[in-house]
Chain length 466, copies 2
């Protein structure tokens, strides 16, 4: 750290971090000691205690209106510092303080909620995903406030406590607090800070998950006695599934592609570059080539800007050893669809439901349960705010983040896109591994480097002309 | 029993049974005390002890060459009495002395291997299926031998010990013992004696059971990252299944119907009558109407003389609560096909295998495991031997058995049809319920009535001109 080049406007804040390194780690250990597991109701009290502790920290470093806001689920931490002046931008900082469950516990080499540093790595549940972002932002903002007595821009903090369990309360929370949350730019900090191959997911697909149940005879029937005269629900389920794609791999639901947005050459080049950077790694993961659907569009586009439909599970009838001569009474399958702009999840869910229900007959009933509807998201791909974040990354590690379009879904970003009237970009602090797995860790030196990048980022954002 | 009409030629034998009623029940209790569960290797010793005890009984009543013949699985009981003269027919009597497992044991009201009579019903595992046939034949033959010192025809006994576990050793046993087993007529006694609606299944379908495994990526993949570029094994499994029938319900396997035998008007009338007699009961069981495939042929024919294909179970991917966004690494399903004369199971199995394997692609492998190949069977529908059996039934309960063609499979009869050069008909002794279930029983009075029918049957068979 001593070799770090001087950086005049943020030097005092950088020095503050250097001088408080031990306190920063101690505080991080404390934050990581809360078992804020949102998925397990048994930990609801710990989730709340964690929120309250963060509120205390925000107050201590000089934030105002710091409070735990109750929702139907776990609470949101809110706080603001709005004294930079009306000519300065306001940023809404989003992250989450809840964590994944820890099982299988026996695979952890140290207690998941008693952080431990081994070989320069800090091990604890949430160390990387994503208390790193919560703590990173707090420490960056504290160092600026301590060094300068002020921030270079107006800041609103929103840390949720349900991200790892699907954010069920966030949509009503956001809808009810639009004014409180309004800003010029939203900063999603739920991500990592990869020193070597920094990436920023600027777009992702929406998602619909659904479950279909096909029911036929009253009970499992003898296939000898009833074969040929009673329609088999497994056959109907298979027919439905088989009919959902044409032989090239296109989804056949009526109107499925009607609202799919064309991409321009800039976008095409961007996603191609992003895909190619990962192709070898992805092939290793899959163990197969990506030939499926190749006649429709190049691999990079099918994986990102075209919608998909996959059956994630199917079951019905006898699954044990040997054979059992039955016509099963029912069959079920689970589906997820990945949606892209400007497909609308409620519309597609309805199309799916009607299409699938159309396979019902006089002896077959079909139930479709739509479980989740998540919207696609699109963050900034240019503009001053993104440039400010990228410049901070480049100044810190020598290169900006590569903009990648993920085929996956971050429903909460789709929701922010849809409900909030502001652009969104992202910046992450964690550089570690094993998120959602045993022995989650963050690299300690990289975390301190990310704090420097964070300082530069807030500084740069403060310089953006509104 | 005292009101039973006198029946001159068999009267002494009838009297013998009347006078030995208690001994007959005591012996039956003893036979039922052997836990001859063929499916569970833990009972192999008991199966053998049961066989040895029966051999002892056969010797005691005057049979010759009585022996336990070892097979690769459980032993066969063989014995003969061949002193009726060359001008008299020889009958080969087939039945099985093994029984189904007894679980769930807690649902039994008395010990399954300690027979108990309650309200005129004798409860024990095997009481109906099918130690009734083993004991019934022994008692009928004993009474004739005791009363007359001889039998009206030549008799060969073959009781197997593997019927309830699929008779894996019977085909090699029969192939190796054709001369020993040769007779003029084979009598299948593995069935019941329903006093009210006697039925005789004179034909049944063959069966092929198979399991298909469809493999795709190396492991379950994230459906966001790989949706659209990696082919989903569940989709391929569904395509295979969906393609196996046309929209009318015909099986689409190439050549599937090529060898299906046309039926004549007599047969059509017979199966229609048999089907109609059961339709209401069957509809209640199924809970749905039998509309599937109705454009192909009438219900009775689709259920009996046309072949079928049913998927009995399918599974792959995530089956738990909620959703899991994966493309599963593999999918599997189990199939049974019901075959009719003159389809050949090995040929159809090969057609199925090749057809299904044809769905393999550059990223999808397909394995087909053919588990069982059972041949369809056709017993006597006219002729003197059947008439002799029917006359015995009619003389005893006032009507002959209705000839019914079952859609189910009795692979061992198909095997006898194919390997043995003799006609087959059937006669059963049991009149009870809960076969294969807890609290299996036989109605005691009906069993004694069945013994009288058995006496008449052997008498009538002995009168048939060779």
């Amino acid at each position: 750290m001593a070799t770090e080049p001087k950086d005049a406007p943020i030097q005092d804040a950088v020095d503050f971090i250097h001088h408080h390194r031990e306190e920063i780690l101690e505080g991080y250990f404390k934050l990581l000691s809360f078992p804020s597991i949102s998925a397990d109701p048994a930990y609801a009290g710990d989730v709340k205690k964690c929120a309250e502790w963060i509120v205390g920290e925000l107050k201590r470093i000089g934030f105002e209106n710091a409070k735990v806001i109750e929702t139907e689920g776990h609470p949101v931490v809110y706080a603001d510092w709005l004294h930079a002046g009306d000519d300065k931008p306001t940023v809404l900082v989003y992250d989450h303080y809840d964590v994944q469950p820890v099982d299988p516990l026996h695979l952890w080499k140290s207690e998941p909620f008693e952080a431990e540093i081994r070989d320069g790595k800090l091990y604890a549940r949430g160390a990387s995903d994503n208390k790193a972002g919560v703590w990173g932002n707090l420490k960056v903002l504290e160092s600026m406030l301590s060094a300068d007595g002020k921030l270079p821009l107006n800041v609103k903090i929103m840390f949720e406590g349900e991200e790892e369990s699907g954010s069920p309360s966030m949509e009503p929370f956001v809808a009810a607090n639009k004014e409180l949350l309004q800003a010029d730019i939203m900063l999603n900090c739920d991500g990592g800070f990869d020193m070597h191959n920094p990436q920023l997911a600027y777009a992702g697909r929406g998602i619909i998950s659904a479950e279909v149940t096909v029911k036929g005879p009253r009970a499992d029937l003898h296939s000898g006695g009833f074969g040929g005269v009673v329609r088999n629900p497994l056959h109907v389920a298979a027919e439905i599934i088989a009919s959902l794609h044409d032989e090239d791999g296109r989804v056949t639901l009526p109107g499925y592609y009607d609202r799919v947005r064309e991409i321009d050459e800039t976008e095409r080049a961007r996603i191609t570059a992003g895909w190619e950077a990962e192709t070898e790694k992805n092939k290793k993961t899959a163990g197969v080539d990506f030939t499926w659907g190749r006649s429709i569009a190049p691999d990079a586009e099918r994986a990102t800007v075209l919608p998909t439909l996959d059956v994630n599970g199917m079951w019905g009838g006898y699954q044990g050893p040997g054979s059992k001569t039955i016509i099963p009474a029912e069959a079920s399958f689970k589906v997820t669809m990945r949606l892209v702009p400007d497909q609308q999840p409620p519309e597609i869910a309805q199309i799916f439901k009607e299409y699938v229900e159309g396979f019902a007959t006089d002896t077959i009933t079909i139930d479709v349960l739509v479980r989740q509807e998540g919207w696609p998201f699109l963050l900034e791909t240019d503009g001053d705010y993104l440039a400010a974040v990228q410049a901070a990354t480049e100044a810190t590690i020598g290169k900006p983040a590569q903009l990648v379009r993920t085929g996956g879904s971050i429903p909460i970003l789709g929701m922010f896109n849809r409900l909030m009237d502001m652009p969104i970009t992202g910046f992450g602090y964690g550089d570690g591994e094993n998120i959602h797995s045993p022995n989650e860790y963050i690299d300690v030196e990289h975390f301190f480097l990310a704090l420097q990048a964070g300082l530069r980022m807030y500084h740069n954002l403060g310089a953006v002309e509104k």
